[in-house]
Symmetry: C2
Subunit: 434 residues, 2 copies
């Protein structure tokens, strides 16, 4: 059906075509600009925009009935023109629509800025993501995924795929989704935590990129019911500081991938790419409280404390990143490893990125008796966790890991006011479509 005698040229390749040669492009009608003597047709494909000059009456008639967003195939002459975007345009075009005339988009996609409300953006996500600025945001995310995996592949990690159906809401108990699993209840995994630990027993070093599910009952700008978690876990560490060193490598890999593979998106969005220092500055939770003037018995950092600490890290260390270590054990999950010399504190950390929590990580317990104790301390019976505890009874190394929320990471990079702006199809308390 589509003429294949002429291979398709992508808009980014157009400047490299032979002037005067016949070229064929395909894409979406990005914009039609009617002047007195001619119409400019701008076609958008995955690599950018191409300008087509339409003068012939037959072609003008086609353009007149081919509204913005209709997909088209254009065959014409490659013509250098310094005034055209990219220095080239297509002249004497034959234009063939590839579908029916498109409905008018809910927002004007051809305008350089995407000016719309959040509900419009989200309700029409299949169309609004076509805007180059919006698309660029996801491109940062896609590059980050590549960088995450490449960094860990380079460190001898094995990718894993752990089950999303779990038998019990063991990790936190709260905010868990229940599923009708062949007539009995099952739950959706809130994280791959238990499974990635068990697989450290197999592969030593593992990572997973996948969805996690949180039945967040609050409608906030930074929570989703489903998000992409970038999880890593590895064995034979000394303590959580080894985890932080690995996290530093991973973040550098993600930043590197963004810089190298999503340079156009970075430019378009005007993102200030946050260089990762060779060593991420670390502050103990206790000292962090003192620094922000909070009472010494505060069990957690409030958002304003995190912001103040972010500003301090930037000023004191010139760093967009700050690790706060030693969070009180009382506020950490039961598998957290305590500080060896003072078990009130933990061998865990939060990484603040520009004053916002981005990553949680740390060392985990690895001795079976430590698990038995920690589970009993929660008032539970270790026998109820027998499946998880198998790995530990059969020999586990000292280990730890971390989890990065993809959407939160991208949201911080582009300074999104709401995490939903950087999520392809967000899911929350109220939203289940599109």
């Amino acid at each position: 059906m589509i003429s294949t005698d002429q291979p398709r040229t992508l808009s980014a390749q157009l400047p490299h075509a032979v002037p005067g040669s016949t070229v064929r492009i395909s894409g979406w009608v990005h914009r039609r600009r009617e002047l007195a003597a001619l119409t400019f047709l701008v076609v958008r494909d995955r690599t950018g925009l191409a300008q087509v000059v339409v003068k012939d009456p037959a072609a003008l008639a086609v353009v007149a009935t081919t509204p913005e967003e209709t997909t088209v195939e254009v065959t014409g002459t490659m013509t250098p023109n310094d005034a055209a975007p990219g220095g080239v345009e297509i002249t004497t075009p034959q234009i063939r629509p590839l579908t029916e005339p498109a409905a008018t988009p809910p927002v004007e996609l051809w305008r350089p800025a995407l000016n719309t409300t959040l509900p419009t953006l989200l309700d029409h996500a299949p169309v609004t993501w076509r805007h180059p600025v919006q698309k660029a945001k996801w491109e940062l995310g896609a590059a980050s995924l590549r960088g995450f995996r490449a960094a860990l592949d380079g460190q001898g990690f094995t990718e894993i795929a752990t089950p999303k159906f779990v038998a019990s809401a063991t990790e936190s108990g709260a905010n868990v989704f229940e599923v009708d699993y062949f007539g009995r209840p099952a739950y959706l995994a809130q994280s791959p935590q238990f499974y990635k630990q068990q697989l450290v027993g197999v592969f030593e070093r593992v990572y997973e990129v996948g969805p996690v599910f949180r039945a967040e009952p609050h409608d906030t700008v930074r929570h989703l019911a489903e998000y992409v978690s970038l999880d890593a876990e590895f064995g034979f560490i000394e303590d959580h500081r080894d985890v932080l060193v690995m996290l530093r490598e991973v973040l550098a890999g993600m930043i590197g991938a963004i810089t190298e593979q999503a340079a156009n998106a970075v430019d378009l969005l005007g993102v200030e790419v946050p260089v990762v220092p060779r060593e991420i500055p670390v502050i103990h939770f206790r000292e962090a409280l003192a620094l922000v003037g909070a009472p010494a018995d505060e069990p957690d950092l409030a958002p304003e404390h995190e912001r103040a600490l972010g500003a301090w890290a930037k000023q004191e260390h010139g760093s967009d990143y700050l690790a706060v270590e030693g969070y009180p054990m009382a506020k950490r999950p039961f598998y957290t490893h305590p500080e060896p010399d003072d078990p009130r504190w933990s061998n865990s950390f939060d990484l603040l990125f520009r004053g916002l929590e981005l990553v949680t990580g740390g060392q985990r317990l690895h001795r079976p008796t430590a698990y038995d104790e920690a589970i009993r301390a929660r008032g539970e019976d270790p026998a109820d966790h027998a499946s998880y505890l198998q790995a530990f009874r059969h020999g586990m190394p000292p280990h730890g890991g971390f989890a990065i929320g993809l959407e939160r990471w991208v949201g911080r990079l582009v300074e999104a006011a709401n995490i939903r702006e950087v999520t392809l199809f967000p899911r929350d308390l109220n939203r289940l479509t599109p």
Copy 2:
């Protein structure tokens, strides 16, 4: 806690250490072999095995109370010995357990072959995956994932992450899991099909690797309630043959990654790596029926037909792969594109790999009126699919794609009798743990 004055040496690096130098290894006690004058301690880490020669009474006492699977750190002297595996061993060791003595494994992990029943294998998955043969199977899967992504990255695809919570069980209606979503029903996505199509409208070429959920009510050797789907979808195709060409590139990439990055696993498992022919042979469904002697009005291929076709492809074309195109429209989902000249047949295909269905792919409808018709033909109202249809009303190119089941692919590679053997933590009608 762990001595860091001596950096860790991995077992695979041991032959490259300086003879006579002090080395430190870490791993699991794979086996202890007591002889009259000494004990061999074999330590397993993520790169393989290392042999330690224990003669000193103090060290022998430690070994005696450090059963198989206990994690240990061993510091000793790198000593070349042609009789040792890898040509080196560690002598005069100091051995330090890193956890409590491990419980006896449910299967003997040190034996070259893993002889056990399927229930034991699955009930003790956190431990049985440690067996080198079992571990190698997953390594084929992990390499396949890398190959899949690298092939598509090289073809200008963008990775996406689509929601697993969906508002309705639109695609097939059957075998869908229901979730309590903040007090109302939601469903788990059976595939990213609808979303990957919508995102072709944004990125042109997309892929996703992620879990899909099927409430399979039957307990078979090839079905799971949750599996990893490798999905790709792209626009501006001529027809399903373009999809098959892309699939061929992707399979070649997966095979290439296995060959290059999982060579040890291939060797250990004795896998005959299935070379992908430059062009995958294609047979029309109609001719396939005739070839296997089935009635011309059969709507589908039975497993014995697929096996016969697989044998035919091997004999006739020397190919482990065969594409059967043109499946009857009646048996394909509503978004399937018909053959332009005969709408009884579809522009879709199944790819048989060694006589078993591995991939389903094809061209999709892209005109909005075609969707309206197809949905009405199912007795449904297009208005009920408004969210999905947005993308088509606002301009979509001719497009298509495919989906590969990861576990099925690996299962075929290693000729597993049951797909559960190659799934890290399988989920089915009866199994929700470990």
